[in-house]
Symmetry: C2
Subunit: 469 residues, 2 copies
């Protein structure tokens, strides 16, 4: 069975598919502002229904609804994650056209949300539509989970994952973060780092005091600084006792995949305005650190006078927010436990640690259904090998979705963007060719999932039959 | 010559003096709000003119005027500092009566500014009036320098000190901070610590970044924490290289005076809500640290997301504000120089140090005219020995006023408040008896200055005559 008819269908409908994307992108749905988000949710639900899905809309507390849409049926089931909200538009003057004009020029569609990630959501629904039109019914069950709070930290999705874990029982999950790199190679990531977002708090006097007392009243800012200085070395190495012993060794397949990852170091240095990287790393070592190493980042410190200007006070409280990005097998609870023991051992028992937010690592082996389908379908759709990130250095609600069951659901992530998509900035855009290519690719991924899961089911059944003999 | 007639004059005019204080306290003059401050300046100038002073009003830039008033004449000249602005009133509901009602009950006058420090200003002017009425002319020249920006960090006074240094040429200076302690002893301080208020700044990426880059992009918050951790030890000891070698030994007279200083530790601990003091100090050691030790206080740290809530960013900049309180012979410039060398030696050459504000130590020996006058006049006026603080742990614009000339002008400070005056809080108040006692005391101080400076002049003259022979 070839994809000739499928591809022809996509090409024949290229114009109408593009117009449907423009229509979606013309609906503002900035979660942070609240404008048009609920209308967008209804549109997404209607769109999935027209493509043949059974849908449900979950309203959790005061948040924006989770749109759930189920396509097809089968022994195996796969989750497709998406979100229908978009980032704030930023400075209007920096856009070539309005952020919701969604005009097309030179093969680009510029709009807030085109890349992140209405283009991905629509491409995937259209791929299912095209698949059904050309092959008949889907070979597997596909469950879309589409949220409207990506820009808000996904609170409703996390509630949904806790309250409706049964809907998240699946053989794999496909996320929507991804792009072609500067060498035009499709980037497929096999998961996301976890996160443990902690608050450390040191206590001093009841209130901020006149700093003349600085010599005799304990200063929580000094206390916090002294405690923090034991956590990461001046060279940027995490020095928490026993921290490294909880990090799983890198799997050989992943070490192999890492060799294809290259960072455009010069470009990134220019973009960030930095002279060099931590510990002077470059090349393979730098990529390995980015992908496989846990991080411990001071995100903010709050102590003393926080307004404009400068005031001579002795602070009453000092707070640091630390963000640990986690790799296998570090868990948020383990990080808290190790840090607590580390600080206690050094006499910092007075410093409180609170876990504010946490997401587990979500990682797929290269042998999972979704990893195989994504990796093996890429060469035909993109005419070259993809780049495989064994782990995306970012995190997200993926841990909540894929960790709702044990063992965790394998996850892969890819998308229709490219290196110039600028998903959080002005002139966010996608290339229409990438959009259509993404539809063709997703059709192949679904097909691959159908084949491999059918083979697996047949294999399992024959094993059962043999056992019964 | 005795003070019988002087004291009787004060007692006879007790009611009218009190009414004049009430009138002053009924004029709101909160510098931070701007209401009534200029009217107050005019009132102060008129009040000094009626007492016989030649006055000038200095307007510097957009600030509130400095009122300069000169009384008497003589070979020696002394500065009396005051301020006519008051602190913000805070929560109105916490006041027994309105902050500007200035009503009297149980011998207390409650009003914002009664203690800090309209009561002191008026007591000093009234003492001069009473002195002139009973003794005739003043035995020395007294220059009042009265500002309206105590609550704003005294910017105009600092400009004035630079631009009119000739008016600050004097044989001594009397400041207006002081009170009776919980044992009803008059506190006289022989100066104030200096201050060096520094900004330390570490640099990272051009802007805050997504914290997924935390493992490879330098984090200025970690850099700042690591640098700060070398400046003060976990025990709260300043560990800057060679810092202690620039601290002058304590003079024997000052060490002697320290023995009379006692802190009400239990009360202060309750007020501050702390279990104990730095390094577990108590008693004599605690008082010595408060008075004679330099401090290094982290006043604030600014890095990463500074608004409400918590955000996972990798900060682009990290700033700490450090406040050093200085003792002899530490200077602000020396502190910057030592800290720079200390950080450079440890590889922190990338951290900027900026001196934001500085005031020199202002300190008097116990043999100066003003110290002798204050100390020796106290037993008669207060019927007991005063407590002598060799140095007030606070700082202020005193360094600008007393350091305008070299050698620096000796300074002493005392006032009419008591331990319950609550000068920055609700129900700020003074006891009327303290007010009248303060007038009697100040008359004696002026008289003492006249006698000792006349003796000094006679001595100097006879030395000259002998040299000419």
């Amino acid at each position: 069975m070839t994809f000739t008819r499928f591809d022809r269908y996509v090409e024949r409908h290229a114009r109408s598919f593009t117009e449907r994307l423009q229509a979606l992108c013309r609906m503002p749905s900035v979660a942070a502002r609240g404008t048009g988000v609920r209308a967008m949710a209804e549109t997404v639900e209607g769109m999935m229904q027209r493509a043949g899905a059974g849908t449900r809309s979950f309203k959790l507390g005061g948040g924006y609804p989770i749109i759930y849409g189920e396509f097809g049926a089968g022994h195996h089931c796969f989750i497709v994650y998406g979100h229908y909200d978009v980032q704030p538009v930023g400075q209007l003057g920096e856009w070539t056209t309005g952020p919701f004009a969604a005009e097309i020029s030179d093969g680009l569609l510029r709009a807030r949300g085109a890349s992140n990630s209405k283009g991905d959501l629509l491409a995937r629904i259209l791929a299912i539509e095209a698949y059904q039109k050309t092959f008949g019914k889907l070979p597997v069950c596909v469950r879309f989970i589409v949220e409207g709070e990506d820009g808000l930290g996904s609170p409703s999705l996390q509630t949904f994952a806790r309250e409706h874990a049964e809907l998240l029982r699946a053989d794999g999950c496909i996320w929507d973060d991804g792009y072609k790199d500067t060498q035009e190679r499709l980037v497929i990531s096999l998961g996301f780092k976890g996160i443990a977002f902690l608050e450390l708090r040191a206590h001093g006097a009841r209130t901020d005091l006149h700093s003349k007392w600085g010599g005799i009243v304990p200063n929580p800012a000094w206390r916090l600084v002294q405690a923090l200085a034991t956590v990461v070395s001046p060279k940027g190495v995490i020095t928490i006792d026993n921290f490294n012993s909880h990090i799983a060794p890198i799997e050989p397949q992943d070490a192999q995949a890492l060799k294809t990852v290259t960072l455009d170091e010069a470009q990134l240095r220019r973009e960030f305005g930095i002279d060099g990287w931590v510990r002077g790393m470059t090349g393979r070592a730098l990529a390995k650190e980015l992908i496989f190493a846990p991080t411990c980042t001071i995100c903010s410190i709050h102590t003393g006078h926080t307004g404009a200007g400068a005031t001579t006070v002795l602070p009453g409280t000092a707070i640091a927010h630390l963000d640990f990005r986690l790799v296998p097998d570090l868990t948020p609870a383990r990080v808290v436990e190790l840090l607590r023991a580390h600080l206690d051992k050094r006499g910092f028992t007075d410093i409180d640690i609170n876990l504010i937010a946490a997401t587990s690592v979500a990682k797929s082996s290269q042998d999972s259904f979704v990893a195989l389908a994504a990796i093996e379908s890429a060469p035909e759709a993109y005419a070259q090998q993809p780049v495989i990130y064994p782990l995306d250095p970012a995190s997200g609600p993926v841990g909540a979705v894929c960790g709702a069951q044990q063992p965790a659901t394998p996850v892969v992530s890819f998308g229709i963007s490219y290196a110039g998509s600028n998903p959080h900035g002005p002139d966010e855009n996608i290339r229409l060719d990438d959009f259509l290519q993404g539809i063709k690719y997703f059709g192949r991924v679904i097909h691959h999932l159908g084949q491999s899961s059918a083979a697996s089911y047949a294999q399992k059944k024959s094993t059962l039959v043999q056992l019964e003999k």
